[in-house]
Symmetry: D2
Subunit: 490 residues, 4 copies
């Protein structure tokens, strides 16, 4: 996942606004955070481990001078070194370029070799974004002979860099003496919105962000989602220039609406909350055909609550928050292995027994990855006295690995990659199991075929050879995260 924000202000320092805005993207990553600013002369960076509210303080925010800057929240990934890999990254040659991103590269290892052998650039981290930065910087150095360069030269260098990159990525960057630059891969897989703040009829700031909510909070108006392969450069005089530097078909990640994004965000002009209500209504249609009787609709917190509300209304059953999540058992909650087994999912979820006992319960969840957590939840609901437990999932079966965002784990670890729905039902111990359908998912989102659904269909947007898939599985283990764990921790 990961989330970022970039701001350029006509008159004010941007550090505090970046900080506030980052806190609204915290659900996209709790592992680390960083802010980089530029004051026309020097770069200032503070980045490290922890939540936005933990890491920043008056001291380090006051040191982040300048009216142009970028900020990042990092998703926890296993095996990577959080101290080395936390963003933004910076190079001081040429000019000084700071950058952060959201996404994943398919040909990361090849690009790293090219940078070392062809451009003499050694990477200091294992982070995709450093490779993007290295390519962009090397191309910029080639294109710009003078000690500064024009907008067209920036776009030219970016084009040369992006043509070599295979993956899904959105980036925001500070280019010293040029301005704030954002760009999105040629399929627009990962989200990126552009907005402006208007005071007394005048634009006082421009911003880019992973989600619209990050700009909303600052009182911005959303101008647009960037097009596939589009780059926008806002210069230091608050002029902006846009160019589609590489062309491609829009293929927005469907999982942003289903799970990643905050409900109050709007992606590709589709409100996330609204899409989730639609998902619930679509599921209700499927459910009604099954003719199963039930007493209560209970969401598995947090994401599926919205769909559960519309589902309950549509099937005419009461909506009850019968599973209470312990919000304080998060990222930093330690637990010895033996205790983990003893307490299990109970540490994070507690049933409201009086809403469950003696009832036929419909549980709504947003997805099933390995199935182990689902099993524990079904058991817990039965132990709380449910007479029947029906499991309903707002997303269709996830059968294939993702190469453009966070890995869902190997195909062999995806329960739906190997098993039939009936087999999954048995494994999670539910009385019935109802999945969303792919066409209904598309209908609920409402952007037609402009979706990446590779994890559902196996049809990858960019070239991913079988070999590469295996290679990735082996060598990028450290990039793979226990996303379900992390999700529970949000």
């Amino acid at each position: 996942m990961c989330g970022f924000i970039g701001l350029i202000s006509r008159d004010s320092n941007v550090a505090y606004d970046l900080y506030v805005s980052l806190s609204t993207l915290q659900h996209r990553g709790q592992d680390g955070t960083g802010i980089l600013t530029f004051d026309g002369n020097e770069f200032y960076v503070h980045k490290g481990i922890g939540l936005v509210s933990e890491f920043y303080n008056e001291q380090n925010l006051s040191e982040l001078k300048g009216r142009i800057g970028i900020g990042h929240v990092r998703y926890p990934t296993i095996g990577s070194d959080p101290k080395k890999d936390v963003q933004p990254f910076i190079t001081y040659n040429p000019f000084g370029i700071g950058i952060c991103h959201n996404g994943n590269l398919v040909n990361y290892n090849q690009l790293k070799q090219i940078l070392l052998k062809k451009h003499n650039r050694r990477m200091r981290s294992n982070n995709d974004v450093e490779v993007i930065l290295g390519l962009f910087a090397s191309e910029l150095q080639k294109v710009c002979k003078e000690d500064t360069c024009s907008e067209n030269e920036v776009f030219e260098a970016l084009k040369n860099a992006m043509q070599q990159i295979n993956g899904g990525y959105s980036c925001v960057s500070v280019v010293a003496d040029k301005g704030l630059l954002a760009f999105r891969d040629q399929n627009a897989i990962r989200p990126l919105v552009f907005g402006e703040k208007i005071v007394d009829g005048k634009v006082v700031a421009y911003g880019f962000a992973s989600e619209s909510v990050a700009l909303d909070t600052l009182g911005f108006r959303i101008i647009k989602d960037l097009e596939p392969g589009e780059a926008i450069l806002v210069d230091e005089n608050m002029q902006y220039y846009s160019k589609v530097v590489v062309r491609g078909q829009k293929r927005a990640c469907m999982f942003e609406w289903v799970y990643f994004a905050r409900p109050d965000s709007v992606i590709e002009n589709k409100g996330v909350y609204e899409v989730r209500l639609n998902l619930g209504n679509e599921l209700a249609e499927i459910w009604k055909k099954k003719g199963i009787k039930a007493d209560v609709v209970i969401p598995v917190p947090e994401t599926s609550k919205t769909a559960a509300v519309s589902f309950a209304q549509a099937v005419g059953l009461p909506y009850r928050e019968g599973l209470i999540k312990n919000r304080y058992v998060g990222r930093t909650f330690i637990m010895p292995h033996q205790k983990k087994r003893e307490f299990g999912v109970r540490i994070k979820l507690n049933p409201v027994v009086r809403e469950i006992k003696g009832k036929r319960v419909i549980l709504i969840d947003d997805s099933i990855v390995r199935g182990t957590t689902s099993r524990k939840i079904v058991d817990m609901v039965r132990n709380a006295g449910a007479t029947e437990v029906h499991f309903v999932v707002t997303c269709p079966p996830i059968k294939y690995p993702c190469f453009y965002a966070i890995d869902f784990a190997n195909k062999t670890e995806l329960i739906a990659g190997e098993k039939t729905i009936e087999e999954i039902r048995k494994e999670i111990g539910a009385d019935s199991l109802t999945y969303q359908e792919i066409e209904r998912l598309k209908h609920a989102i409402g952007v037609g075929n402009n979706l990446c659904m590779a994890c559902l269909t196996g049809e990858y947007v960019t070239d991913v050879s079988e070999e590469q898939k295996k290679l990735l599985g082996d060598t990028r283990d450290k990039e793979r995260s226990e996303w379900k764990e992390a999700k529970a921790a949000v």
Copy 2:
């Protein structure tokens, strides 16, 4: 507020269980936390500032040896020194007694003087519980001539101490070489439950907690809520002794159900989630009489969500979570004054514009204290495009200060203490304002007259003279907390 847990286990160290359990009570206090254990020989204590998940680690938990212990989470109070006042407290004379509590004393200052002048005991903190500990220790020293003492002597000493104390309080205590002791004031104002863990038909542990959820999570069965003035001592051989040491009428704080407690807790045998559904239904009755038309029901997060669900169902309108809370803007989120004014409530709440625009919105909140936050929320909803905003409150008007839990601020700061409902409506800028009614509140809770509703009625459970009220207002300022702020931060 504050929350605590006490455990005695037949065979196992209790530190990890206290830690897990405390995390379920974190909503009762995020300022500080502490755990104290006793291993038959020595006391071990770790306490400090921060969340449970932040403060504890493998190192300090492993140092907390012993199969008997208590833990506490502390509510932030302005002016007190969190480093000095964080619980548990301990005295090494006589025997060694560790203690923590939830509540407030009316005659704190007098008792502090008595301890210094009569018992030569100097207090090291400004914490109520140290006074309770000092009195209990002094009386125990008097009662027990030998180097140990009987159950009856413990109850006798406790009686002598409790007879001097005026206030609402629940306590749990480790008495070295005796066992785990819990006691509750003579009106049972503050909650306290007793439970046991049974494995293979045998009791392996007993526990006390502020809320049932703390014991649920550990797999305990709730035995009972303690009676007014009751003390229970579980000795080191797992025998327990109960005695009502001071007598009084039960007057449980109604605000536990309305706001304080977690929805999955059960207090005085009444489920909190259920009571909140009832509160929504009761409000719907009032609302329906008003004949106002509306389009959507939106809760002000978090507590009022449950009542909003039942209210929406009862009035036949859709329930929508149209205000999204930023969970990451909490306790430690810094913000310069100017930025606070600039961003306002927007930092913490963001509207889902598409669910609000062009609609007549019913907002459900649990209470109005000063009114300033309510005003900002109404404004925000209007700015998001609501054509009408109707404000509905699950709790009746709070008109009087509380002396038994957290101060709501002075009477002059309570908007309902000074103004009529129509004046309040104008001040918060709503199109209509609907409060819960006192009789309906009682009906929703369902424990008859066994309630403390002093903050609604001004009828105090214990002796609180006018002079004392003023005195408290002056000298205990530091104990008064911006509870509404803190609540928003949860």
Copy 3:
């Protein structure tokens, strides 16, 4: 070892003066430090691990309010818990008493049992001083019936306590509402000086300290060393009262002059620097009789430098600092075992080869404990090219354990406890070995028989049965410190 200071000022806060003063006693203990103050109402304490300059900062010093206070530096001891055992200690009953000490109790374990069984006082630490505090507090509680007590009652209580204590100890204590109290064991084994600060002819402050230098630095005048068994109480009106509460013969620890104390301190009216010059002169007398020829006198840093200067002058040889100590390899310098072996003593000492090569070297050291370090130093000097190495020791052979200060390790670990001088010479690899003589040591110090020399002679000042010696060896292992290591680290 350990060091302490106590101050009472007419008008000013004492925290900063305690802090400055403690830094001059840092050589007596680098493990931890603490300051306690009392402002007439509350006690303030900050204590923890680390050097004085590391642990204190503007924040914690400013919180230590009050014109009366005590401070401590702690010597590192193996096995004890530095977090629990760091001084000062405090009890809040009766009155509030803070205390710190320097010394060791022979009957610690018995006293701990008496306190628990007879006085119901449980100890929270394994520190001697808590036992002294517990006894004094219990006796004070018995003696003073009222909420305060007279000077005579304080002395009476102290007498009752001290009569039960067997050991060598000096203490300084704050008694709330009474003043600053210092007392010394009946043989005055451990040092304790009393001083005053005079401004414009008026006493503005009184102070007590382990060494005179601590008071010198603050501009105080030394009044006297406390007598055996003497207690002095300075009350809050700056009146002072003195009384010998238990009687005994003065037996000051000879090792204070030889090694412990700073050269600029004066103990029992004998300057430490002067005594060390005398030690060098006495040794020269012995040396001259041996008729050995040599070229240069080199001290083993740090303590023996003074004696080496006078020795060199007396024997007519040049004094050269041919071994340079790395002052930065101290307490916190980590080193894996394998590297320790590889580098050996070289990490801490480096030879000035040009002052050693081709020369007959006389090395002066203050003592030999186990002999292993001496062996390494002799080897290093030979490797640097010395043709002969003669080892001269300013202290006579240490043959017996000490029960009044720091343990020198078991008798079996003391090389002089088991071996002849010739055997020791062989073991450390020197060409000759010359020890100080006991009578010459007495002569050099110049206080006649008022010395404790138990570690040289085995004649203990207080009752130490053979059984006790064994018992101590076994159960107080944690109190035994690698003093030679620690010394090297200073």
Copy 4:
């Protein structure tokens, strides 16, 4: 000042050896420290504020992998940002180059502009070494077309870079895939030694260091001091290549022997301890001519002790360490302004009154900069009872600013820059004042005219125009340090 070490080992990781070695250079800088290693693939860096023994721990040392690395200790400079300016510095383009240095550049500002405008390299710090690194990296990029480069290309690039640099500097650098590189300015102003470690007749490691003691401690043999303008590259196969890349006359800083270096170091084949003995003997010659009578010779600690020993012997007076330094009042010792004035120099120095009282005292110090500290010391010695105080200085009057090491402050702040010796004597309150003579200084060191004595004579080794002097005075204020303060803190 600053100090560094560079190591390349045939087989072993170098981190621990760098760490041990750095501790022996700690006297050259206590502000910050850093170690950088390279394992053939990745760079590892840990750098930060604090002493070597404070900053490193098992964790960060174990992360510093690789058999080639460099380490640095940083001298405190006022106004610079220790977090930004702490060394080593690194660039990842080309190849990856890590570097650290000791020295000062005269044309720093011009070079910074050239790098930005001509090479598009933006500096991230205000540190000289980053400019050296930037020039070297830019030239290397130009010279080496391939993805690696030959020894000659490295020397060629270095030559191009060094020809642009005006100043005094010694550097050690890791060049990825090439090896360990050291180089010294064309006048060899700042020290730099080269050594090897031989085990069983085979070279197992090579090393470079600011002082020989850093290599001694590791058991190395010194091969040589680098020549003016010489560069030595040890490649990964342990072959070494040497070349004088820029030519010039040797002008070693005389202050290294007088004050900077450790007594056990050897610089330009002259032992520091020996030179200081010579300085004392030379001073004795001057003193004897004056015919003043005195009783005792007392050094002002620490550096002047060696000269005081030989001086005392030569004039036939006893040597006494009559001023005891508090070694624990260092870098981190806080003190409010008012207390500083109250305690003055007394916090850091304490007189041994019995060695001073009634005596005619000769004080030996290594230099007088502003004169304020000297005044305080003279006063203190008089207050301790000295009947006369004679001040003798081992270094001739410092009259001019230094541009090659640490600034001594502006010329107007140097007391000898403005005043006659008689005026200085009056200002410091001594009965007589005796300075070293320049010719005697040269004689004592014994390297002929190969000395930089610009601070004594005003004859600068490199081109320093009057304008530049003023410019430096203005814009590099932050680089100027209270060196005398810092010295006292060592």
